[in-house]
């Protein structure tokens, strides 16, 4: 398992710039997907507004490290602030909405995503509205300037590994058990003493934090942010990464991220039919494998057991 990130780095280092950028994007989506998976896959709640947390992270970096307010805080500090703000947003949104079930929750989170985007669009004095914020600072970590796609490859692989270990531990912990119970039968979970609203709130905030981190990295990668990057479609893409790849399974999410980024790129040659082909492919996958390409039980713990047994 430890070989996978090393392999990604080795392959990535020799790639030309364009495919390398795509690889970076795959890693970013994998991180976001693993974050969203906590809510959608572990707790079984449909969150259609995940992009809001991503946007909060991205704008945090854009505002605190650009000529916009002439602030140039260090990358790591902003990473912490962005993650914190996203977590706070997750809690503030979570408190009123987590009592809602299924469809209602999906609609409210969708609305929240849109609200954040509309805010970014209209708070001109702060965000420049639709024009967005440009000339964002280069990221730097302990004196290491993160600027080329290869630099970001290292950064993203590192973050992906951390996220992976984190969500694995979370899933295996008592919190993971509680979330699984919520997903299976919320009422019976309450009857077993689970504070369902409380554990859902933790899941929501944790997932939001990872979204915020992803947003900060995204802004430092693009060095430009605008509301256009944070539409509902972005939320939907991340949900698809999870659902197509494998609900509740970080390996599945990685595969899903790969497919959802790569397939549209490969279909570029057929520009006219791209959307259509992609849509048809998605529907086919979901019909054929409703639980995702890699099922929940073939997750990291299963894999670790397999390795041990050999």
């Amino acid at each position: 398992m430890a070989l996978m990130p090393i392999a990604v780095v080795v392959v990535g280092v020799f790639l030309p710039a364009y495919p390398l950028r795509i690889l970076d994007l795959v890693l970013l989506y994998a991180i976001l997907g693993m974050g969203l998976n906590i809510v959608v896959g572990y707790a079984g709640l449909l969150d259609l507004g995940y992009v809001a947390f991503y946007a909060i992270g991205a704008y945090t970096y854009a505002l605190l490290a650009s000529p916009q307010f002439d602030l140039h805080l260090p990358f790591l500090l902003i990473l912490a602030i962005g993650a914190g703000l996203a977590a706070l947003a997750g809690v503030l949104l979570g408190i009123p909405v987590l009592r809602l079930r299924g469809d209602y929750l999906a609609i409210v989170t969708l609305g929240f995503g849109e609200i954040i985007r509309v805010l970014m669009n209209n708070l001109d004095w702060m965000t420049n509205g639709p024009q967005g914020i440009a000339r964002i600072d280069e990221a730097s970590l302990f004196g290491w300037r993160v600027s080329t796609p290869v630099d970001f490859l290292y950064l993203l692989v590192g973050l992906a590994v951390l996220t992976f270990l984190f969500v694995w531990r979370l899933q295996e912990s008592a919190l993971g058990t509680a979330l699984a119970a919520v997903r299976e039968d919320q009422d019976a979970a309450r009857g077993c003493g689970i504070d369902t609203t409380g554990v859902k709130l933790i899941a929501f905030a944790t997932s939001a934090t990872i979204g915020g981190v992803g947003g900060v990295v995204f802004a430092s990668m693009q060095r430009f942010v605008s509301p256009e990057s944070f539409t509902f479609w972005e939320s939907l893409s991340i949900v698809l990464v999870v659902v197509v790849g494998g609900l509740g399974n970080p390996f599945g999410v990685m595969l899903g991220a790969g497919l959802l980024v790569l397939v549209p790129e490969l279909l570029r040659a057929y520009a006219d039919y791209r959307q259509l082909l992609f849509g048809v492919a998605l529907v086919l996958v979901i019909l054929a494998r409703p639980m995702g390409l890699i099922r929940r039980e073939y997750g990291p713990s299963w894999f670790a057991r397999k390795l041990m047994a050999r």
Binding site: A174, L175, T177, A181, T196
Partner: protein, 278 residues
């Protein structure tokens, strides 16, 4: 000690519980019997916090349960099984029990999940395995709960309720749908539950089971407590016999009814049944 103190529950115009008072003492097994629709499950549902009584109090060791959220009632020490099995089907049997032992404080949960504190995983696991062992289903620990035979699922549900180390345990028709052999096994398990601290409520239609395990019996009819006493007194109570089919000597009819009902449950649980016979 679990006390229902002059509890009334109306669903619209329908009076499901009519000024019922029951005292369930720890250390003994208290059966609650009565015809279909008598209000037995409603008592359990109110105690567990699924809905509030229209009036009256429900006390567990002196603590008023009414108005507490469901999970706090569970934490106060009340656990239950359901008339229609409600396991976490997608989880393993062991995980089903672990849910009952998830740490109560959110900060502890966060600390464990975020690598800040020691995980209690192994300890919880051992406790749950011990419960499974006691109920003779340790070999099923890694099986997915939803894939088990109906009778096995009933035992798992009992195990989950026991794992929480409750102060009161309410069993809503644990023998419904079980065959004779399974019922005998269940009977043995219920008897081992007896402990000086634990108040046990057994709701059942199977009179053979009731008469052999219970120390104290409440008979409900149309939401009211019709009679209360030890098994012998209840068996000989003409009023009780009359309530069942309107004639003396009708006690046997309860069992007949229970048998008819058992078959129905069996049919409903067709999938589980097929598993059980394979």
């Amino acid at each position: 000690m679990l006390i229902f103190d002059h509890v009334t529950k109306r669903f619209g115009a329908n009076v499901a519980i009519d000024d019922a008072s029951l005292t369930i003492r720890p250390g003994v097994i208290t059966a609650v019997i009565g015809p279909n629709g008598a209000g037995k499950s409603t008592l359990v549902n109110m105690a567990a916090g699924s809905f509030r009584a229209t009036s009256g109090r429900i006390l567990l060791d002196g603590v008023e349960l009414q108005g507490l959220p469901k999970y706090k009632i569970a934490r106060a020490g009340l656990s239950r099984t359901y008339q229609n099995i409600r396991l976490f089907d997608g989880l393993s049997v062991l995980q089903n029990l672990e849910v009952a032992l998830v740490p109560r404080s959110l900060p502890t949960l966060i600390a464990q999940a975020f690598w800040l504190g020691p995980g209690a995983g192994a300890e919880v696991r051992d406790t749950c395995m011990a419960v499974l062992q006691r109920l003779g289903i340790a070999h099923l620990a890694e099986r997915q709960a939803g894939s088990l035979a109906y009778g096995q699922q009933k035992i798992v549900e009992l195990a989950r309720a026991v794992a929480a180390r409750p102060r009161a345990i309410l069993l809503d028709e644990p023998a419904a749908g079980l065959n004779h052999g399974e019922t005998d096994e269940l009977k043995a398990h219920i008897q081992t539950l007896r402990g000086p601290e634990l108040a046990i409520v057994l709701i059942e239609h199977d009179m053979r089971l009731i008469m052999s395990v219970s120390d104290d019996i409440y008979v409900m009819n149309r939401g009211a407590v019709l009679a209360h006493g030890n098994p012998e007194a209840i068996r000989d109570n003409p009023q009780v016999q009359e309530a069942y089919l309107g004639q003396p000597g009708a006690m046997g009819n309860i069992e007949a009814a229970a048998r008819g009902r058992r078959n129905r449950v069996r049919l409903r649980a067709g999938e589980g049944l097929a598993w059980g016979q394979s």
